[in-house]
């Protein structure tokens, strides 16, 4: 046990409140809609408060932990929160809260709501569990549960396309999960079951074994993090899933892969060892390729959600690149980008969902002139797109700034071209949507929507509020980036620990 770590009930509570909420939702088929919403919102709000409290305590330098159950004679299922985990936990719970509120509107006329809400909240619990894992076994447990028990959400629509996407999802995720399992077993074999904290492995182990473990980890998490060429499930799963779930799928689930890579690089191997192994370079190549390749593919996608999915792949490439550079500033940028990207991509998927629900439009081409029908949504989409590109003073700028500084620091200047090229390409695939909405003549679909009811097709308040909330966060995380408890500060303290 690490000195200074103190046992706290808040940590397991943050994991179990959403899990219990999910179980309650699963049994809610006989409840009134109002009662169900009340319980769900309560669970999500309490989770935000709990993860918030954990963040505040962890930021003040405490290490919180809780032991749950002893699974094998050697290893406990053990929660232990550091700065990185605390940040990830709160980002997840806030995005989930927004997406849940959005679901109330979006899913209102969909089928099998108890099942949807149950798995939706459960997956929040698993995510917080991943963030707060104190050792690799615990990490694996939550990671696998999280990967597999989101399958019902991916196939929720039960259409043949959704089932096909679900099969693809589960195949990719299981292969990735198995690689992670192997890597974790190997790590356990080499290093024993210590807590996540100081690097687990050291240079005393044969280099071949270290390389095997590293690449096993990277391939495993790379599937989740959608590193090209392991990204195949992302573009199919996102359009198939309901929009609020796409938002968390893109914002958090894919990012969990990069979270895993952070844990591997910073906590399992440690920066020094990764540098000695010389693998950072190769990961950086892969990441840079991912950024550009996915961005280029995104340009040619007509389905809005598919385009956004490719954008996610590209943006996660930034995060992986930031980790692989092994530079404190780049790492800060990577961690902050996970948080920022969650809300930017969340906002964008919320918009995409509104187009589907309010206009019945899935394709970019049909969005011509939509701003006249949905002015607020159009504005939100534009702001989020600008943030994604990295326009100051919005959120995306902050993370890319730090990534840029890190690139220059580490002396690998040509990655700057990747950084800026990726941002430009983001402009090329995102801004045309705004352009079409504002400056083109209304398309047939939009006109049709107009003639049916006339006037505004703006979404009801329940769906607009989360969208506005996400956009407000995108602005806030840009303007007040340096305020205490916001991602930048927390990321800096986390990185300090990693680069000691």
């Amino acid at each position: 046990m690490v000195a200074g770590a103190q046992t706290s009930w808040v940590v397991p509570a943050a994991v179990f409140v959403p899990l219990l909420g999910g179980c309650a939702a699963g049994l809610s088929s006989a409840w009134s809609e109002k009662a169900r919403r009340l319980v769900l919102s309560a669970a999500a709000v309490v989770t935000v408060l709990l993860t918030g409290r954990v963040l505040v305590q962890v930021s003040s330098g405490e290490v919180l932990e809780a032991r749950l159950v002893r699974m094998t004679p050697q290893i406990w299922v053990h929660l232990r929160v550091d700065a990185l985990g605390a940040l990830y936990g709160i980002v997840a719970s806030v995005l989930w809260l927004l997406a849940l509120a959005y679901s109330f509107g979006y899913m209102a006329d969909e089928h099998r709501l108890p099942r949807y809400y149950a798995f939706f909240l459960l997956s929040l619990g698993w995510t917080v569990g991943v963030a707060y894992s104190g050792n690799l076994l615990t990490f694996l447990i939550f990671y696998e549960l999280f990967s597999i028990l989101t399958y019902p959400l991916v196939v929720h629509e039960e259409t043949p396309e959704a089932l096909a996407a679900g099969t693809k999802y589960i195949a990719y995720i299981l292969v990735g999960g198995s690689l992670v399992l192997l890597a974790i077993v190997y790590t356990y074999f080499l290093a024993g079951g210590q807590d996540i904290g100081a690097p687990l492995l050291n240079a005393g182990v044969a280099k071949g074994q270290l390389l095997a473990v590293f690449w096993c980890f990277l391939a495993g998490f790379g599937v989740k993090a959608a590193i090209v060429p392991l990204h195949g499930w992302v573009p199919d799963a996102h359009p198939a899933a309901p929009a609020p779930f796409s938002a968390v799928l893109s914002g958090i689930m894919v990012a969990t892969g990069t979270f895993g890579i952070m844990r591997v690089v910073f906590n399992v191997f440690g920066v020094e060892l990764v540098r000695d192994l010389g693998v950072g370079r190769w990961v950086a190549y892969l990441a840079a390729f991912t950024v550009v390749f996915a961005a280029v593919l995104a340009m040619s996608q007509d389905d809005v959600k598919r385009r956004l999915a490719y954008s996610t792949i590209s943006q996660m490439g930034y995060v992986t690149l930031g980790i692989a550079l092994l530079d404190p500033d780049a790492a800060t940028g990577a961690i902050v980008h996970v948080a920022n990207h969650a809300f930017m991509k969340g906002a964008l998927f919320f918009c995409a969902g509104l187009f589907i629900k309010r206009l019945g439009v899935r394709s970019v081409r049909d969005l011509d002139g939509a701003s006249k029908r949905m002015p607020l949504t159009a504005a939100a989409l534009t702001i989020a797109s600008l943030a994604m590109i990295g326009t100051p003073p919005l959120a995306g700028f902050v993370s890319k700034w730090y990534l840029g500084i890190g690139i220059l620091d580490s002396g690998q200047v040509w990655y700057l071209a990747v950084l800026i090229g990726g941002a430009l390409l983001a402009g090329v695939y995102l801004l045309p949507i705004s352009y079409r909405m504002y400056f083109k003549e209304p398309s047939a679909a939009v006109v049709g929507a107009l003639s049916e009811e006339g006037g505004s097709r703006e979404a009801p308040f329940t769906m607009l509020a989360p969208l506005v909330g996400a956009v407000a966060l995108v602005i806030l995380l840009g303007i007040c980036a340096a305020a205490p408890f916001l991602p930048l500060e927390v990321a800096k303290s986390a990185v300090e620990g990693f680069f000691r």
């Binding site: 094998t72 004679p73 447990i141 196939v155 039960e158 356990y188």
Partner: protein, 497 residues
């Protein structure tokens, strides 16, 4: 203390045997009374074996000498940690018998029902006896009791396909019994004793290794037929799929373990004598285990019949355990031994849940069972829990074995087999995903499936007890793991230690 009473050990075998033999007389043709009598008998057996487990956990292994004739001259029962399988047998047997109550009413000829319970109890008695016996010949006797009652149980429905499956099972089972008997005879011939511990002692002083090696080979081959290791598995899928579901649970969860338990006993005899180098056998187990994992899963993918799928998945899981034996490192053996227990629980949960679904809907093909998740939410959920567990998703019971055997593979320096293990499990997941899809996400074909409703409590409770155990045995994995470790440590202890 109550658990220290010496006679619990023989009682553990005599109780189910006695209850089994008396069932037809007590029932007098009344199926309900036969059921109650059988439930009582199996519950008493479970209580008795619990006392044994408590004692072995507190005091370590202990023996019982019949009639006060000490081994090696008298008959010895010996209870060690691996013998705790007897408790699993009795408890799962009890759940299967409880489950059978309503199932048998529906599925069997009423005149046969009392005999059905007799056979089940005899099977349980044989399994308990096999787990606790301390001598080779009784091992064979109990194995025959198990086999004969199992053949009859497969055929109990009286359908033509069931008779065919039982006959196939019988032919291969008889061959395997013969192989084991030959092996036992050769051990007796070389050592002059049938007592396991005594044989282990005397084998060290045997002059020629050849007859011992032949004996080991014969017994291992016989046991592997019993365990349905690929390519000796051909009898299993039909027998397990066609038998009534509670019987499938007993056969798949418990009876196939006879071969594994027997192999373990064989190891206990020969492992430390050093007279025969077991490396070749280990190597064989390792490869056949790996092939079993993959082939079992591969065949399962193409099954539409839900019980057939589960039967093939047993072959896969036997592969895990045999591979664990073959790796022969401490972690791998612990994982294999614990999986003998855990697989029994998981597979029983799966077969009973599948049986409940078949009982309620009358369909047994996945393509016909679409929408079962809506019709029978609790049963389908239990089946899903079992599926997640058998695939080895953490933190369920099946995960422990994957973790330990993979760890053992690294420990033994055979990382490639850890790879095979983990990716073999992926194959298995493919067919469970098909099942989950059919139950929950695909358009129903038959309206009666959607309106079937969950089964009566006497079926639902055993199913959920087992499904709960699938979760609990993983989370509380420390308990079985620490329980079994001394037995493995003794097995691997250096000679003379």
């Amino acid at each position: 203390m109550w658990w220290q009473w010496a006679h619990w050990l023989p009682l553990a075998v005599l109780v189910p045997l006695g209850f089994g033999v008396t069932t037809p007389a007590v029932a007098g043709g009344d199926g309900g009374r036969a059921w109650r009598w059988a439930v009582l008998g199996s519950a008493l057996a479970a209580a008795t074996t619990l006392a044994l487990v408590v004692r072995v956990a507190r005091e370590g292994p202990f023996s019982y000498a019949f009639g006060g004739w000490n081994p090696p001259y008298g008959i010895e029962f010996r209870f060690d940690e691996v013998g705790a399988f007897a408790f699993v047998v009795a408890s799962l047997g009890m759940l299967a018998i409880v489950f059978s109550g309503r199932y048998a009413e529906h599925a069997l000829d009423p005149a046969r029902i009392p005999y059905f319970y007799t056979l089940l109890l005899l099977d349980i008695a044989g399994l308990i006896g096999f787990s606790v016996t301390g001598d080779l010949f009784n091992m064979y006797v109990f194995m025959e009791i198990i086999s004969l009652s199992s053949y009859a149980l497969v055929a109990v429905s009286g359908e033509r396909t069931a008779e065919m499956a039982a006959f196939k099972y019988l032919v291969l089972g008889a061959v395997s019994s013969l192989l084991v008997l030959f092996g036992i005879g050769m051990v007796y011939g070389t050592t002059g004793t049938l007592n396991l511990a005594d044989a282990a002692r005397r084998l060290g002083g045997v002059g020629s290794a050849v007859p011992v090696a032949v004996a080991i080979a014969l017994m291992a081959a016989g046991f592997m037929v019993k365990s349905a290791l690929f390519p000796l598995h051909v009898w299993l899928p039909d027998a397990h799929a066609i038998a009534p579901s509670p019987v499938s649970a007993v056969l798949s969860g418990l009876v196939v373990k006879v071969g594994l338990l027997g192999t373990f006993r064989l190891y206990q005899v020969v492992y430390r004598t050093g007279i025969v180098d077991l490396a070749a056998l280990d190597q064989l187990f390792l490869w056949l285990g790996a092939i079993s994992i993959v082939m079992g899963a591969f065949f399962a993918i193409f099954q539409d019949d839900i019980k057939m799928m589960l039967a093939y998945s047993t072959i896969s899981n036997i592969g895990y355990i045999v591979m664990g034996f073959g790796l022969a490192s401490k972690f791998a053996l612990i994982g294999a031994a614990v999986h003998i227990f855990n697989h029994a629980i998981i597979k029983s949960a799966l077969f009973l849940a599948a049986g409940a679904i078949i009982h309620q809907t009358g369909y047994r093909r996945l393509s016909e069972l679409r929408g079962a998740g809506r019709g029978m939410p609790l049963t389908a959920a239990a089946l899903s829990v079992g599926a997640v567990s058998i695939v080895g998703i953490p933190p369920t019971a099946g995960f422990l074995c994957k973790w330990y055997i993979a760890l053992g593979a690294f420990e033994a320096g055979r990382a490639a087999f850890g790879f095979a293990l983990v990716f073999g499990a992926l194959f298995i997941f493919v067919y469970y995903i098909r099942m989950v899809n059919a139950f929950y996400f695909q358009e129903p074909v038959h309206a009666d499936v959607v309106h079937a409703g969950d089964p009566p409590l006497s079926m639902l409770v055993p199913v959920w007890v087992l499904a709960g155990l699938c979760l609990a045995m993983g989370l509380a994995g420390k308990i079985p793991l620490t329980f079994i470790t001394p037995a493995i440590s003794r097995l691997l202890a250096p000679i003379g230690g």
